[in-house]
Symmetry: C2
Subunit: 337 residues, 2 copies
């Protein structure tokens, strides 16, 4: 291990002929330094290659500038897009993102939060899974902020950002009916997360309100391969559906591909399809998928804004919940847009 030799404020001070505090103040916005001292310090710092040690600064200030992003399956298009938006906006707010990958077990989220505590992160943003209540409470008690995106949790303290999954799913029923579809199906994964289930319930309820039934099928995890299997299952039924709402765009891509290539069905003529997330692939001309857009940019903006706000103590007792609308993006996978 080669020795790390970073230059310290002390050395800069000596070179500039000032005290260590002068150096410190030069790099602290709003501190009181004369223009002349500042100039000499900056000059010396530049010559020596000095950079403030954020570890030490964080130790003193009790504020590390670190925000933990806790997420599983980063490589998934929707997750990756949200991640991009979050890191970008965090950077603009002067924070830095620490990325912690979780698997789909509950324990891994807890481990991630423990790591966030260890690095004295200012906040943690959870995109996947749910932490144990006790560890979440520990974070909050320690003064760490918590943001839950598309997760459902009832304990007070964290900011919760959610979409109107239920209502959105209801709106797609109307679109299918207007296109003349009569046999509706819902393709879901077995993951069973609250947002996926809300879409399912919303779709079923919306159909029932119009006196229609929905064939629900669930399989595997929320990915392309699962979509293929779901198509396999739904399209070999005696009563083939003529419209299917997929809980996720990835599922929809898999679904459309087998519908076309294995069952030679034409979309949207014989089968209308809708998805959810509006991942980039949904706009590719092979899919041209009508879907609900995740407002990733707004989600990130709201989260970062909330983190940057000065927060009174009282606030932690009241409801912190944001409900965003998922807008329907019309494309060619449903007749008569």
């Amino acid at each position: 291990m080669s020795a790390k030799v970073y230059v310290s404020a002390q050395e800069v001070a000596e070179k500039a002929g000032v005290s260590r505090s002068a150096v410190s103040r030069t790099f602290t916005p709003g501190a009181s330094v004369s223009a002349e001292t500042r100039r000499r310090v900056l000059e010396a710092a530049d010559a020596l290659g000095y950079h403030v040690n954020e570890l030490a600064r964080g130790l003193m200030r009790n504020e590390s500038g670190i925000v933990c992003l806790i997420v599983s399956d980063v490589a998934t298009p929707y997750r990756a897009a949200l991640l991009r938006e979050l890191t970008l906006q965090l950077q603009n707010a002067g924070k830095v993102a620490m990325l912690i990958n979780t698997d789909r077990s509950d324990g891994s989220v807890d481990r991630a939060l423990r790591q966030a505590i260890s690095y004295r992160a200012d906040a943690s943003i959870i995109l996947s899974g749910l932490p144990d209540k006790s560890i979440a409470q520990l974070c909050l008690r320690s003064g760490q902020r918590l943001v839950l995106i598309n997760r459902d949790d009832d304990q007070p303290g964290p900011l919760r950002i959610n979409l109107d999954d239920y209502e959105a799913a209801g709106r797609v029923v109307t679109a299918f009916v207007r296109a003349g579809c009569r046999r509706l199906a819902f393709a879901n994964s077995e993951a069973g997360t609250p947002s996926l289930m809300a879409r399912e319930r919303g779709f079923v309820a919306g159909a029932r309100a119009l006196g229609m039934d929905v064939t629900v099928e669930r399989y595997g995890w929320t990915g392309y391969e699962a979509g293929k299997v779901l198509a396999q299952r739904l399209l070999t039924r005696s009563e083939r559906p003529d419209a299917v709402f997929c809980a996720t765009d990835l599922l929809a891509c898999g679904f459309m591909d087998t519908a076309r290539h294995q069952f030679s069905m034409s979309i949207p003529n014989q089968l209308c399809v809708a998805g959810f997330d509006d991942i980039e692939q949904a706009s590719w001309s092979s899919y041209d998928l009508t879907t609900f857009a995740q407002p990733v940019s707004t989600i990130a903006a709201k989260a970062v804004e909330w983190l940057s706000e000065a927060q009174p103590e009282i606030v932690s007792n009241q409801e912190q919940s944001l409900r965003l609308r998922a807008e329907l993006v019309w494309r060619g996978s449903i007749r008569g847009g």
Copy 2:
């Protein structure tokens, strides 16, 4: 701002009735503590919710455990996959990933490295762009390790991981010729990064070795939309190519979609296509793309392994370069696999 109140080793020591060093040693692997003291410390720590302050530990040890990942366009499938692999393997090695997003400007990479220095990162892994030589040297002098993935840079010190882009591109010529293709084209972006250009040169050279010419077209940045434009340009030529090698899978997807939907061409009957990266979408049945696989898992493994190695001083003067082979994944977009 609500006050942060983390519990310190001091408090744990008092509760457990031992000295603070005992607490410290309990959480330091390999330190000398008796079983009994350890038990009492762990018990007290658990009751109080104590977590070692990694900021302070990093300050003392001169080793933060942080590794910076410097990357632009995180949401791109290949980047996201590499990112997943890296964060995962870093975690397994006991490190933690700090994600820094850059735009496509040079300066943003420099800013990222400055941040890496400020947080006293143990290492930085650069996936996009190239840092200024002076700032890279500053990192190395400070004892920070540098890894460049698919970037070309000649200065000694960093570990460079590259693929055999040139040779791989040559191999695809053979595949095209064996499929009976005669009019070859290469679709590239204008990004001009070394790996993209190496693929282009390798393809052209390989063709020329067999006495064939290549139509080269370049446009925009390396994404789906650029692929569409490239198809537009190449397929409206008087002499339509019957085989096209796209510098990237994303380009290939865009290319295939317009070839099919706008020019009604059949793949691979009228047009053979190959790509590079083997992103997930390449295996989707709408594309079924023959392509070269980025060995993301190996890349990440090699990088992490190198970081974890104890490194003698001398090593920083010799060549640190790894050349990995890109394996051809045969699918249906070239005739006669």
